[in-house]
Symmetry: C2
Subunit: 140 residues, 2 copies
DNA sequence: ACTTGAATCATCCTTTCGGGTGAAGGATTC
DNA sequence: GAATCCTTCACCCGAAAGGATGATTCAAGT
């Protein structure tokens, strides 16, 4: 953070210096004030974008919380609501029996759902399903 | 994305217009060129920061990258290097046999490591170990 | 009315996991 | 040298997971 502020200051200083040099040597009497202003505005807007990126990069990374489900991926893979629900519970670390209890269905039903899920995700284990589900944006 | 670009353009246009008005009405003959430049530069740098934030916000969220291992947590829980290694491979979706092949040890060894790991993490399943490992900053 | 897909449950069978226990070799520390 | 920790491996056993297959119900569409 301190580093970026210092860099920002140095960048500003360098900019001003360069502009001064340009001002006194070439442009000031050859080009219009409007053009000169446009150049300054563009340069500093660009600098601002760069600095803004540097300043907000790390902050945003920490936040990075809000997960948005990729529903198009669900459709593409033909994953039903129930199967997705099972995937979420698998990822939360529950056993098939616990999932069955939570969804008020039988163990066999959960096993069927998970088997179909593994087929659609092209995986062989629930741990792989977790991994792939995250990659595809199906679970947080 | 298109919206931000349009906003950016409108912002620039508005800025230029305002500057023009100011230029022809008040400042141009009362203040030095340096001061005028500084105002322009600051305004546009600020605008750039704002635009930069808008432009990079969504992109950065998806990255959500650099993971830093919490080694103090490993020590606190008494998790050895090998056990942590096994945890990483478990989280990547490998079976115990696959982990054994990758580490050039026997299946029994992997089972011992994972069992000790589960004790230290206070979990009962590998899926829970993945979940808790992520919470504690032991794996990405 | 017929088809289709989802959700549900079942049975059989194999593989994988996980718990418990013991033990041997190596490195470090006291 | 004894104690401790890590790593390695083994055997046994029960629980959980996974594959294959078939069946029923029910709602939605055609």
């Amino acid at each position: 953070m301190n580093r970026t502020i210092i860099l920002y200051g140095l960048g500003l200083a360098a900019m001003v210096t360069i502009l001064k040099l340009i001002e006194y040597k070439y442009f000031v009497r050859q080009l219009s004030l409007e053009f000169y202003l446009a150049v300054v505005a563009t340069l500093f807007a660009g600098l601002g974008v760069w600095v803004g990126r540097k300043l907000t990069y790390k902050k945003v990374i920490r936040v990075s919380g809000d997960f948005k489900l990729d529903e198009s991926m669900l459709e593409r893979l033909g994953i039903s609501r129930r199967e997705h629900e099972v995937l979420e519970l698998i990822a939360s670390g529950l056993s098939n029996q616990e999932i069955a209890d939570r969804l008020f269905v039988s163990l066999n039903t959960v096993k069927t759902h998970s088997s179909n899920l593994f087929l659609k995700l092209e995986v062989k284990r629930r741990t792989q399903a977790i991994q792939k589900g995250k990659e595809l944006g199906l679970i947080p």
